[in-house]
Symmetry: C2
Subunit: 212 residues, 2 copies
């Protein structure tokens, strides 16, 4: 039995700020003989530290976490270790979030309402170098790839709109003219296919462009 080679065991890092969920993942994975959890982290910063130290074969990463978000953590890890295999495991937060995670280098994107089998199957697939995006998420992302994305400035404006600020106030905060804020709004509305600023904010929330 001691002859089983290490390379046959998938070494896993789990990252989520919900201890209960990590326990659930652990319970599921530890029933698999070829999987072992080598560390757990509860935010992005800890995830990066653990990854550097342990170089897990597969990382399960939530996106919304205090301290450092999953997207940031994925970006840092993949920058240092381009071969890192990372699976996002989160509640759905919109196509923009999912697309950002994949752009940052995630190899899979799972929703937390999955069943054991999907989790295990995806870990094996990603470990062997494949990518795994569930069709419903792929579809959502595909629906918006052709869209014109909001620029950083436009998001900055929209974030303030969501805070209930008038164009005039936003202009003062950003130190630009009110006319320019209006120009940005005139660019934002058609990009999001929104009928007015309130609608634009709602769409941005649903798509994960803004956070609540």
């Amino acid at each position: 039995m001691t002859a089983i080679r290490d390379t046959e065991t998938i070494r896993i890092l789990t990252v989520d700020d919900h201890q209960l969920l990590r326990e659930g993942i652990a319970a599921v994975l530890e029933s698999q003989e070829d999987m072992t959890i080598v560390a757990q982290a509860s935010n992005g910063r800890e995830a990066v530290e653990s990854f550097r130290r342990l170089r897990p074969d597969v990382t399960l990463m939530d996106l919304r976490m205090p301290d450092m978000s999953g997207i940031e953590a994925i970006t840092v890890i993949r920058h240092e270790f381009p071969n890192a295999r990372i699976i996002v495991l989160t509640t759905y937060a919109g196509d923009a979030q999912a697309a950002a995670a994949l752009k940052a280098g995630a190899a899979g994107y799972l929703l937390k309402n999955l069943v054991r089998k999907e989790l295990i199957e995806t870990i094996r697939a990603v470990h062997s170098g494949k990518r795994r995006i569930p069709p419903e998420i792929a579809t959502e992302i595909a629906e918006h790839v052709a869209d014109d994305e909001l620029t950083d400035r436009e998001i900055e404006v929209l974030r303030r709109v969501a805070a209930g600020k008038s164009n005039k106030l936003i202009a003062a905060e950003l130190d630009i003219s009110e006319g320019t804020v209006k120009t940005h709004m005139k660019s934002i509305l058609p990009k999001l296919d929104a009928s007015d600023r309130t609608h634009a904010v709602m769409i941005a929330l649903k798509r994960g462009i803004l956070d609540l």
Copy 2:
């Protein structure tokens, strides 16, 4: 050992649409000798059925679920079994949600980012007839008890505002005059302490008065 009385074992029902999280709860609770999970449900409807059949001592209930929400399930269960001890276990969804759950009869309100100890301690406390509301949630709720609540009609209007509809369109949909919609808005904004309709929608989302 067979002399230990049944009444010393706390019989628990867990309700959550995330299988992984239920596994986590199970892993934590089954390490406790005096706790046993008698059933699991993945939505409100199943929760009500399971409760009727098994009469668990304590129920752990999520709020957002398909089919029937946790609030509805709590309402139904407590109507049939006024002594049912139910603990809400959810990600924070605003003071309005929490207040609604407590009004429906929940005895505790826990957040999913809790640690094992809190969960176990709360189950024991609630089982023995106590109520347990974490101070940060109690504070949030308390901050708004003095507020004038939105009426059903106002929420109906606000929901449509959130959908990006103009006062005129909302008036047509509700079959009232545009002036009346404006009257409702003039009532909504100060109640939510919002500067405009966009702000009102954001506040309603954060407080759990509206869903995304």
